[in-house]
């Protein structure tokens, strides 16, 4: 079940082959949903589900898809799964789904999905594809959570909606950094994460 190749498919995307930091996929939504922590976590879980199952489905039918219409087939599979996730969220967590409705729809245009379907699921069996989907989804979620943590903490002084920076800091003149809420700062936060990540993994550095 978990031979060496499958383990690589599952664990490489967490750090060495991370979809956001190394493959540069899924940047748009990384900018859009990381203003605070809660939507980032829900978004991450939704992406894991959609990615794992679309990988499995495309991998199951990979030998029957004509390569000229594969993009349309992939998008239909992804769109169907996204609609299922959206309906589940509406049924079980209406409040969060109302906050997230636009972002969940945006999963369709998340490049990680198309990227992994093209690069992995089209050439591999269903089980490795499933693991690859889980791994890449987790890698994406980790980055979302880190970026959202810093943006919410520094931008609003809260975490998951609870105030964590004590009131006496504000009384002594501490201000929330409004710049952290703006999209450009998400880019710069991701850049700092890349900096740390590549400083620790020298083989990823570019010349």
């Amino acid at each position: 079940m978990l031979n060496k190749k499958n383990k690589e498919a599952l664990f490489n995307p967490l750090s060495k082959d991370n979809p956001v930091l190394v493959q540069i996929l899924g940047i748009c939504s990384t900018l859009a949903v990381t203003v605070s922590l809660e939507p980032a976590i829900v978004m991450g879980i939704s992406v894991i589900c959609v990615l794992a199952f679309s990988n499995v489905i495309i991998s199951l039918i990979r030998n029957t898809i004509p390569s000229t219409i594969r993009i349309i087939v992939q998008l239909v599979v992804v769109a169907a799964l996204v609609i299922i996730v959206q309906q589940v969220l509406i049924a079980y967590n209406y409040e969060v789904s109302k906050q997230l409705s636009v972002f969940i729809g945006l999963i369709i245009t998340n490049c990680i999905l198309m990227g992994r379907l093209e690069a992995f699921a089209l050439n591999n069996k269903p089980w490795p594809s499933f693991l690859d989907g889980i791994g890449n989804g987790l890698g994406y979620t980790i980055i979302l959570v880190i970026v959202a943590f810093f943006r919410e903490l520094l931008g609003s002084g809260t975490l998951l909606g609870y105030q964590v920076i004590p009131q006496w800091c504000y009384d002594h003149g501490y201000e929330n950094n409004g710049l952290m809420i703006l999209p450009p700062m998400a880019l710069i936060t991701v850049a700092c994460i890349i900096w740390v990540h590549r400083a620790r993994n020298a083989e990823l550095q570019e010349n």
């Binding site: 993009i71 349309i72 998008l75 769109a79 369709i108 198309m114 880019l187 850049a191 890349i194 570019e206």
Partner: protein, 205 residues
Amino acid sequence: MEELNLFVKSIFIDNMIFAYFLGMCSFLAVSKNVKTALGLGVAVTFMLVVTMPINFLLDRYVLQPGALSWLSPSLADVDLSFLGLIMFIAVIASGTQLVEMAVEKFSPSLYASLGIFLPLIAVNCAILGGALFMQQKDFPSAWTATVYGLGSGIGWLLAIVGLAAIREKIAYSNIPAPLRGVGITFIITGLMGIAFMSFLGIKLG
């Protein structure tokens, strides 16, 4: 005149990348040199110009509430707007497949250098985003929508060529090793984004 105004506005003020941060993935990954960036920029512009009027007509005559009344009066209260997202994606995806086949046939070198990012145009948020903004802005005619598509595409093209030119220049500078390549590109894009925010408040005559 109205169209010219919209054209300039969609290039600079409503720039897809710097005002809305749409289409970032390919923007960051395919901006290593100016020539490839130009190729992708032209492909995206072309896609926007082609899909925008098609999506406009779809929206106007099929999707909007009551849009089907031209078929028969009994359909006047049909509302298909919930199908919007999937219809737009279908138009964009089939268009992308056509562009991919054309590029593969006429320019194999561009095809090789664009790599995985050519099929990814289908999920380039700039194109789907363009269709959704078009729906939101409620343009009077398909012609206006095409002008908007052309303007947004050129704005995207200018941004990616600009970034590619900067990246070609900084190839000679001494950047800390872990930041080389992608890291510094993120920072440059962030700074360009902050600079472009100054356009946001401008209103043309």
